[in-house]
């Protein structure tokens, strides 16, 4: 099984204070830490498990600036064989469609059995790149994949798609195909110290717009089909009544409120 894993380097925002940039169309990234997108980490692990079981190779590919090398190297440290970074100043402002276009340019002449992406990126939450890439490559796809099984020596795969409320749908899909991977499909490993050491020396293949045979109007904002006009804080609705004080004080207040309401 030769697998391509698309990985995105994303800011960790769950615990961070987000500051909207002056132009209103992005956030200040200076004080944020970045890491591999959560679902992409599961996608990489799925590829590593297949490699252990069926042999073959793993290529990780990303569209992003130089800082992204950190995430790509971590994938190499865990066992990816080849690393590709696609970068060009012209790529700035690409939406999911344009990102898929860039990935497509790099993958269209490559040989592989499966392309894996995450179900969605945690920053933009689009959930678009995988299926669009499949369409561009002329391949079938399955989104929201939570279990996989390779059949007939890699001619087909039987996958579980996660639906709502704990229900799964089992589908069989012809390979090569694109699968978008949901979190929880496996238990992602940690990189070994030796792996990390080796990965620092790994060459990351770099290609820009021209090398990929792309034109200016196919990438960046020009090649995008949607435009983020403006970011804004969510409207404040009926917010919670916030209890203040030491943990002892807030606990006591809460217990009082819950007792008054007859909840406990």
């Amino acid at each position: 099984m030769d697998t391509v894993v698309c990985v995105k380097h994303v800011p960790e925002t769950a615990e961070a204070d987000l500051v909207i940039r002056a132009d209103g169309r992005g956030i200040e990234e200076k004080n944020l830490t970045f890491d591999i997108n959560e679902a992409d980490n599961y996608a990489l692990e799925e590829a590593l498990l297949w490699k252990e079981k069926y042999g073959g190779s793993i290529t990780v590919i990303t569209v992003g600036p130089e800082d992204v090398n950190m995430t790509v190297r971590m994938c190499v440290a865990k066992g990816a064989d080849r690393a590709i970074r696609l970068d060009d100043p012209k790529f700035a402002g690409s939406d999911s469609y344009a990102i898929a276009k860039i990935l497509h340019a790099a993958l269209k002449d490559m040989k592989f059995d499966v392309v894996l992406t995450g179900i969605q990126a945690s920053d933009d939450g689009h959930g678009q790149v995988g299926p669009i890439l499949a369409q561009m490559l002329g391949l079938p796809h399955a989104a929201c994949v939570i279990q996989t099984e390779v059949l007939e020596e890699g001619k087909r795969a039987r996958v579980h798609r996660e639906l709502e409320g704990g229900l799964h749908e089992v589908v069989e899909i012809a390979l090569p195909a694109v699968l978008t991977i949901q979190t929880g499909i496996n238990e992602p490993r940690y990189a070994s110290i030796l792996g990390i050491r080796k990965a620092t020396k790994k060459e990351i293949e770099l290609s820009g717009m021209e090398a990929l045979g792309l034109k200016e109007d196919e990438v960046g904002e020009a090649g995008s089909k949607t435009r983020l006009e403006e970011l804004f804080p969510p409207p404040v609705g009926e917010r919670a009544q916030i209890l203040t004080g030491t943990p002892q004080e807030t606990s006591a207040q809460l217990i009082g409120l819950l007792k008054d309401k007859g909840v406990i």
Partner: protein
């Protein structure tokens, strides 16, 4: 021109709620666009659905085909590509569900249409349609415009729009011939698999203590377990806690887990992503304990404590056990 199409989603003999939510919003949007609202129904033996949809749409386009009995993105894409090319609706709405996520992006790419996913609102600015969607897991929102095109697509978040009691429309049911000529070649539906039934049914609990990624390590679960015990509740979790294997799958609250509506829901170290909120936001009383004052969970909580859970949870447990 100006028509809004809404793709009806159904599964195992039931029309899914997101369909009616989209029809409610879709009627308003069709009015603003000066067009008609049309429901698009693909399936096999779906007359009853068609009649129900006709109540809430100016027209129902029905594609009846045995091959469309169960959702299959490959076949749905074929049918919709042909329908949208012929009818050219201005806006097509599809649910942001597991089906919509499998279907909409590749369909839009095939038709070369702009697509905004997981939309929670729509606005018009000088006659131009803008989609509202979240970013950074709900910490910010954004306005998104569609690139110069006569046709757009959007997927709509489940439960983002209420099912409205609107005046019935008694729309016409129009049957459209299926463009399918063969079975799906590359993607075959095999079967549905139900979630395994666990030992505890959290949907029956009156009090739930739910724990999220903020708990950091499996070992730390003991402190929330203790709280659940003294308050007489059951322990549940957000997805990362289940993904990590710290709690069994039947304890997951949210869109892909259980929907609960207890008397009291205590969310500990949970940020409040839309997928989590989908499973608990209708609880009677919600308490959130989170150190981030901007965590979206505080938008649905009744009471909030902005502090370190490792200090608050033990204090709360201690007072509850000494007080009783």
């Amino acid at each position: 021109m100006g028509d809004v199409f809404v793709l009806a989603e159904h599964r195992r003999g039931e029309l899914r709620e997101v369909t009616l939510e989209m029809l409610g919003k879709g009627r308003e949007l069709a009015g603003q666009l000066g067009g008609q609202l049309k429901a698009v129904l693909l399936g096999h033996n779906v007359d009853a659905f068609a009649r129900k949809l006709a109540n809430q749409a100016h027209e129902v386009l029905v594609v009846e085909d045995k091959r469309l009995e169960n959702f299959n993105a490959e076949l749905y894409q074929k049918v919709l590509a042909s329908l949208l090319t012929e009818k050219k609706p201005t806006l097509t709405l599809i649910g942001h569900t597991a089906c919509g996520m499998d279907l909409a992006p590749s369909l839009a790419a095939e038709l070369n249409l702009p697509l905004a996913t997981d939309c929670i609102g729509f606005e018009f600015e000088n006659g131009r349609l803008l989609a509202i969607r979240e970013r950074y897991m709900g910490k910010l929102q954004s306005r998104v415009s569609f690139k110069g095109s006569e046709q757009y697509m959007a997927t709509v978040r489940q439960a983002a729009f209420p099912i409205r009691e609107l005046e019935p429309l008694s729309g016409q049911i129009v049957s459209v011939e299926s463009p399918l000529t063969e079975e799906a070649r590359r993607k075959k539906f095999i079967e549905y698999v139900e979630a395994a039934v666990g030992e505890v049914d959290i949907t029956q609990a009156e009090i739930i203590v739910a724990v999220g990624r903020g708990i950091k390590e499996k070992e730390n679960l003991a402190i929330v377990e203790k709280l659940a015990q003294v308050i007489g509740g059951v322990l549940a979790g957000s997805r990362p806690v289940i993904d990590a294997g710290w709690l069994p799958p039947d304890r997951q609250v949210g869109q892909s887990g259980k929907t609960v509506k207890p008397k009291l829901y205590i969310a500990v170290g949970i940020s409040g992503s839309s997928q989590h909120l989908a499973g608990m936001k209708n609880s009677d009383t919600i308490v959130a304990i989170n150190k981030d004052p901007h965590a979206p969970i505080f938008n649905v909580a009744t009471y909030g404590i902005v502090d370190d859970l490792f200090k608050v949870v033990p204090a709360l447990t201690e007072q509850l056990s000494s007080g009783s």
